[in-house]
Structures are given as C-alpha cells and as structure tokens.
C-alpha cells in the first residue's frame, strides 16, 4: 500500500512540475475603442484611449515576449493601412516606447532574464494618421496581443 501511495505521489509531483507549472496569460482592456474624428487640417493625428495590458508569466525558463499586430482598417472594400497606426507604450524598459503597427507581429514588450510573476501591467495608446484621402465610412480593425515564452 505504501508503494502505491508513493507511486501516486510521484504522479502528482510530475504533474505539478511538468508543463502545467509554466503558465502565461494576457488580457487587454477595454477590448474595443474608437479613434476620435477630427478635421485633418487641425488634427492630423487622432489618438485612441489608453489600453491596459495585463499579463502574467510563471515558471522556468526565464523570459517572455509580448507582440502586437493589427489588421488594416476596413470599411467594406475600402481600407486604411495598419501602418497608418502608431503606438506609444509604457512602462520602460519592458515595453518598447513607440512603434508602427503592422499586419505582422512586432515586439511590443519583453524581458529575457525574469518572469512576469504576479499580474503585470503595461499601457498602450494607438494613434491614427487622419488624412483627407480616406473614403467616408466606418472602419474597424483588430489588434492582437500575444504573449510568448522561450
């Protein structure tokens, strides 16, 4: 019976220290936002609200990365390139201070030598070039944040 108990305990320990101990989560709030409208001559760039990124990475190995990518803004057949969107982010040094949105993943934040144990927070604000050349319409885009580990 003792042998059986030990075997069970071993299973439990294996389960505890195997992949299950390595966990990463990420969320963003708010999950929807609007770029304000404005006269392109007086407001050449329109800025959305600050988004809060909540993330947590535990367990070995050390290190984590958050990437960001976005779709083009679309309104039916009309598009505004994702590259017309820029971002600013804090806090440094974990977050890249500023960048240009792309349809491919860009590094937004990361740390090579530490966990992000406990829930950590970053703040990102997106801005859009406000051009006369945009066709009238309601445009939407999806911005995706992904946390990865080595």
């Amino acid at each position: 019976m003792k042998l059986v108990t030990r075997a069970l305990a071993a299973f439990v320990l294996i389960a505890a220290f195997a992949p299950g101990a390595r966990a990463q989560t990420i969320s963003v709030a708010p999950t929807s936002f609007s770029y304000p409208s404005g006269d392109p001559d007086t407001t050449p760039v329109v800025t959305g609200p600050q988004l809060t990124i909540s993330y947590k990475v535990t367990g070995p190995p050390l290190g984590w990365t958050i990437t960001v990518q976005g779709t083009n803004l679309t309104s039916g057949p009309d598009t505004i390139p994702a590259s017309n969107v820029t971002w600013t982010a804090t806090p440094q040094p974990y977050f890249v201070a500023s960048g240009t949105l792309s349809t491919t993943a860009q590094r937004l934040a990361g740390e090579l030598n530490h966990h992000a144990a406990g829930t950590q927070y970053g703040y990102v604000t997106f801005s859009l070039m406000n051009l006369w050349t945009y066709k009238a319409g309601t445009y939407t885009q999806t911005i995706t944040f992904t946390v990865t580990v080595p």
């Binding site: 071993a10 299973f11 389960a15 990463q24 609007s34 409208s37 001559d41 505004i80 006369w132 009238a136």
Partner: protein, 170 residues
C-alpha cells in the same frame, strides 16, 4: 494487492491527465484582442484666397480685349471626404455686373484653371458652373484666373457682382 495497485496506478495516470489538461487550458490564454473603430464622416472644406474682392482695371479694349484680375490667380484649396460619387465645386454669380442701371453680362467673366480636377468656364447667374470635380477623397489645390471681356460698348461706371462658391459632397 496486485489488482489494487493496478487500479490505483490507473487513478494516478488519470490524475496526471487531468492536471496536464488544466495546464494546457491555462496556456491557451496567451492572446488578447482589441477592436478599433474609426468613423470617417463625409466632410468638405473650402479655402479661397483672395476671398473678398477681385478688381479688373480699366484698359483699352483694342489693346487689352481681355482684362485679367489685378489680384492675379485665385488660389483654391478644396478638401473632401466622400464615400462614393463626386465632390463638386461650383460657382454662381448673384447677378450680372451692375453699375446703377447699366449692366455687363456676367458671361463676360470667364476663367481658366490649373490643378487636378479643376476646369475653366464661363460665369452664369442662373446655373451653377463647375469649377472642379473629384471622384476620390483628398485635399486638392488649384488656381482660377478670371478675365473680363473688354468692350467699347460698356457704359462708364464701376461694376460689381458677387460670386458664390459651393463645395458639395454626396
């Protein structure tokens, strides 16, 4: 005893499977998305310089059959955001050029134009004349140069009228 061990071993594997499944579920939460919305409303904006007065100086009709405005070309910047169709800039005269009871037909006033979408024309007091038209959103700059047909038949006087520009979007 042997059967009991096997039974418990099965329980152990089951536990491992449950825990790993739970771990896999946690790992799945590695992506977050936000949706951004931008409303581009139909919009137009018109800037005309000089915006107040054009003056046509006196001249000998034989040597200057067409008098150009002293102010030179009128610079026009028209900005439009349109969903489809055309943005159109028109001009309409309030009346013929008048000096008391005397008149010069407003059709004596003509213009030439430069710039994308801009076109020359002849002034009218009854039908708005197209100065420019565009099929796509954008900010467009052009010039319009007015000339007045000069004639010995005009009665002496100081003539004037008012021109109204209208920028319309669908």
């Amino acid at each position: 005893m042997g059967a009991g061990f096997k039974q418990l071993t099965r329980c152990g594997w089951l536990l491992v499977a449950v825990l790993m499944a739970a771990a896999a579920d946690t790992r799945a939460q590695t992506v977050a998305t936000a949706t951004g919305t931008f409303v581009v409303a139909a919009q137009s904006k018109l800037t005309i310089l000089p915006s107040t007065t054009l003056t046509f100086p006196n001249a000998d009709p034989d040597t200057v059959p067409n008098i150009q405005a002293s102010e030179g070309p009128t610079a026009i910047t028209a900005s439009v955001r349109i969903p489809s169709g055309q943005g159109i800039l028109t001009v309409l005269a309030a009346d013929d050029l008048r000096s008391g009871m005397d008149t010069i037909l407003v059709s004596a006033l003509k213009w030439t134009a430069t710039g994308t979408g801009f076109t020359g024309g002849t002034m009218s007091k009854s039908v708005a004349q197209t100065v420019a038209a565009w099929n796509t959103s954008g900010s467009y700059t052009g010039t319009v140069t007015f000339t007045l047909s000069n004639s010995w038949t005009y009665a002496i006087g100081s003539y004037g009228t008012t021109l109204t520009y209208t920028l319309s979007t669908p």
